[in-house]
Symmetry: C2
Subunit: 257 residues, 2 copies
């Protein structure tokens, strides 16, 4: 067996005052995290920052230098507080220009409606020079790729429609396999079991997530690794050891947790 | 009128592989954001990172130096992957000791149950030297305050019960007043209005959040500032200008959005 290639790494940068004020609850981190996990790309960190030029520049620069992929959400609309495009262009020393293909798509989108393609909406066709467009099947105004930064809208349905078009452009890796062992036992009682099993396999991660319902409690033990056999062996080992201790344990089917 | 004192700044650090894998959706950033906003504390950024010692040390150090308050969630349970306490102690060069009051609380919590206070659970009484305990009304195991870092559990209900006890310990500031103007108009059509109004008042922020339903669309324009009169004046101005353009606009009552 050849050793698996290094997985690509990624970070998410959510740009938006409305998340930091608590008015809007972010849904993009969790959604992108699931997609990347599914594709075998390691999401290493996520950040939420304000709509402030120097803040955007500083975080985009740091994340772009640290990871293979950076996904941003938010701040690419038509209004004065949408400064993501200009800030990211500036971060890389690129100028922004009115992108003919983006103009064409927006014109086609607004054609036959009574929505004017005014100066504010034209701003959504301003794209950094050298960037590649990201299609927006939901509302036409494109995102863009500049270097390793993927710039998308903040509205979850629009972001999701944009991400679909990116899947073929991203280099996935070996997917982690994940199994959940549901244990009718407190987290503190299986800590030793978990730690023993974790030490037994290289590159295996074992997490525990206690849960509580009226009159019931238990712990979901989640084992994951890129080595599928290890995950199945570890789940068996945990279930066996928990059962031996006198508690119930059930291994859920893959994908169930 | 005297100029308002500088508001305290804050950051949130969510520590947990389960958020980065997408398996668990974070609820703590949005909840803490709302509380801080309510208290007049400026949440400047939030980060989600992995359960890795050097990663925790590096982010905690950076955030602690940059902001007045840092709130962490996750990684303080009984199992081998709960390394937040040890990592944060190390970040500040403190040792961890078994805290007598924390032991007492855990013993009291488990008394009369068949849950053993074993080595793993005793680990939850390990607290950095010099730290102050944060009460945990939900499940006894305390969080702690070390310097300006507030270390809490990851389970939202437990984190929330911990945060309640912190309110008196945090220095709030002048609260931002926020009003929403619901406009039956596309975001791109009111961009100029928004930008004009925004420039008219110092320290006023004007955000726009388009929404779509089958057959309907509109834009929620959110104005906020620490100057209450400015917020009301700005909302009036936006509603008037939108109405003059021939579209409906409604100012929602404070707290409604």
């Amino acid at each position: 067996m050849t050793s698996p290639a290094h997985s690509k790494t990624a970070a998410i940068l959510v740009i938006g005052d409305e998340i930091l004020s608590g008015r809007t609850k972010d849904k993009n981190i969790g959604w992108i995290a699931e997609q990347l996990n599914e594709m075998g790309i390691d999401l290493v960190e996520a950040r939420v920052i304000a709509d402030v030029e120097e803040t955007i520049i500083s975080h985009v620069t740091t994340l772009s230098e640290s990871y293979d992929y950076v996904f941003t959400s938010g701040g690419i609309g038509p209004t004065h507080d949408d400064i993501t495009t200009a800030s990211i262009a500036k971060a890389f020393g690129h100028r922004v220009h009115r992108h003919p293909e983006a103009v064409r798509r927006l014109l086609a989108h607004y054609e036959g409606t009574d929505i004017p393609f005014n100066e504010a909406r034209q701003k959504m066709a301003d794209i950094p020079e050298g960037a590649t467009l990201i299609d927006n099947p939901a509302s036409a105004a494109p995102g863009f790729i500049l270097k390793n930064v993927y710039v998308m809208a903040g509205v979850p349905s629009i972001l999701q429609s944009m991400f679909e078009g990116l899947r073929d452009k991203l280099q996935g890796g070996q997917k982690k396999v994940r199994l959940t062992v549901q244990c009718a036992i407190g987290e503190g009682t299986i800590a030793t079991i978990m730690s023993d099993v974790s030490n037994h396999f290289e590159g295996l991660s074992v997490g525990s997530y206690p849960w509580f319902k009226p009159g019931q409690f238990g712990t979901a033990v989640v084992v994951s690794s890129k080595q599928k056999e290890d995950v199945y062996a570890a789940a068996d080992m945990i279930a066996e050891l928990v059962t031996k201790s006198g508690y119930e344990a059930t291994i859920l089917a893959e994908g169930q947790d």
